[in-house]
Symmetry: C2
Subunit: 409 residues, 2 copies
Amino acid sequence: MLSVVSRRFVSNSRTLGKAATSRKREEEKKDAASPQKSFYYDDLEVIRAKGTQLHQKPTDYNNLAFGHVFSDHFVNVDWTVDDGWTKPKIEPLRELSIHPGAKVLHYAAELFEGLKAYRGVDGRIRMFRPDMNMERMRRTAARASLPDFDAEELIKIMVEMLRVDKEWVPNSDTASYYIRPTLIGTDPTLGVATSLAAKLFVIGGPVGPYYATGFKPVSLLADSRFVRAFPGGVGAYKMGCNYAPTIAINKNAAREHGCQQIMWLYGGDEEVTEVGTMNIFVLWKNEQGDLELVTPPLDLGLILPGVTRQSLLDLSREWNEVKVTEKSFTMGEVRKALKEGRLCQMFGAGTAAVVSPVGEIVHHHNGKFERLKIPTMDYKPNYMQKLYDAITDIHYGRAVKEGWTVEVD
Amino acid sequence: MLSVVSRRFVSNSRTLGKAATSRKREEEKKDAASPQKSFYYDDLEVIRAKGTQLHQKPTDYNNLAFGHVFSDHFVNVDWTVDDGWTKPKIEPLRELSIHPGAKVLHYAAELFEGLKAYRGVDGRIRMFRPDMNMERMRRTAARASLPDFDAEELIKIMVEMLRVDKEWVPNSDTASYYIRPTLIGTDPTLGVATSLAAKLFVIGGPVGPYYATGFKPVSLLADSRFVRAFPGGVGAYKMGCNYAPTIAINKNAAREHGCQQIMWLYGGDEEVTEVGTMNIFVLWKNEQGDLELVTPPLDLGLILPGVTRQSLLDLSREWNEVKVTEKSFTMGEVRKALKEGRLCQMFGAGTAAVVSPVGEIVHHHNGKFERLKIPTMDYKPNYMQKLYDAITDIHYGRAVKEGWTVEVD
């Protein structure tokens, strides 16, 4: 059924240390009896889509819904406890064949990453900090009892996928190409236990601009009766299990309160932890009168260590215009700052939107729902906009930040 | 590839109200424009396995690992938001074709049930309280933002599956046939949102006796740094997301402490909530000197409402030999009762094992691991054994409990 064109790609990536990696692979090969610890770019087989496997590319990138259109190829590699990883493939996108007893379908043995590639104003395609996504993916795999792999090898394979599907990367300085590496437990046995088989795949596709017509501030439901993550849980890992419980809550927030997202609170003092699937930042004048950018800390395990979160912190510390603090803050502090006119901006931070301004919080407080207006869009100078511009300038090659981008040559 | 034999089965189930259900379906049919609210037994198509689709049955049921062997057929039915449910099928077991962007693989849009059928001493096959599993499955579906269905229709379809695969139900009064209804979100779009497509399937297979050579008391790790569920979460629902985080913890408990399971604690006062994937019971002489059977309550949303849990409570209340209480209890209370010689028995309760005696707790306490011996196996009279015997007598048709079994005629 498949028209197979198999060929070994010669790496021409200058930045990713091919020589070193080949050595890693050669060293592992000597010990041929043990399972393969990673898959390797040098083993990559590319099977190109043909005929009906090739899909129509969108003509209008401005109106593309997130995650609805996938490009022609995907990365596919399997693992078993006995043999380790198979050779990776880039092949025409197709449905996966999964046993109905596979652990991913019963016990949520699954995790994912989300990152983007951008076509710059110079025509070159860049991935943004994929090393951070890959390190988080490996940490998540360990927590999910799924197999480890070499991060650099997967980056090189994703670069190759972008080469193969380069015409799917929008020629636009607002749209982008979203990449979704995924790791699932495929062991077809019931019983809550480590999956002895797994599949890693990477799908991707073009996504439209988040803000085609300027920033759209969101309204958030803040109701401490719904909890996203808790100490002793897995809120700091990008496991699928963190998302399923949020779907019904989000639907109800939209239906009952007209809110686009949830502001996730934790504990009796209503610590603000995340917003929707993003990290959260507040810019306020603190009680000492300093302009301060605050985001919750990672140490309690409640917060996903976002790549955009880290990048906004990095830039802000470099600029040194405002005090930058990683610490917990509560809804009580937000309300107090708002009342005293000290709250300047509040925004989510994530790969999809970069920043997402908060315009309103619907706070379940003393048994009632109170609507709090947040002045994010009115505050001047617009610090959130400055962060957004700096990040997107790097995305689209208008600015260079050493080590933050991987170019697809 | 498939050899298809399609035929409409005529219902011959006397106990499940066929007339009423047909009426339900007929009423729904009048409104043909709206999506189909449930699938119906009357629409069931059975495609029988042939040739290589037929698998070898195990010859020795005593050494069957749980969930490793599946019978020849499975139930398969699909749903979309526009059309509702398709007609259900029983077809030869096969791998499922799932889009790599399906929500089940990314956001754990999935839930399951676990129940059993037993071949009684009279040769008849019985399911144990499937109505309770189906009601829990529907509650879980609502929480998981997955589609609803008619519980009685799925019971009738599972009964039909047991008829088709009846030779897979062990002729044994210790082994059984495990049934795994599963519901997954198949909508192939990224984005954390309600799945607009879903698949419900039921797989099953023979499982060996849990106690081929008598009860095996387990050793539990009790360490409040690992948390299974929390208020505001989904611990009361059988969603896949509750299981993934436990796998690595269980593996470490086995490796580092030789424990078979985790005793899940919650909060600063270390409330005992569950054990492994089972509910937990303690039998103690309370501080007032009464013999009391205690299990944690359902009202905080931390506890899965187990069918075996409810059945043990029902029987115990009926017998009225011991005080029966649903209330929270803490590790401090367990330690105190143990120290004062008041702790009699402690056991897990679930479908897989019915009861699972606790022999030891490895308690992480004041920074150290303390091994607490639990006298479950030594206490006389053995109340846990009495419960086990009563439940298994019903399973295997040695005793009758009105409304607790559904016979496969």
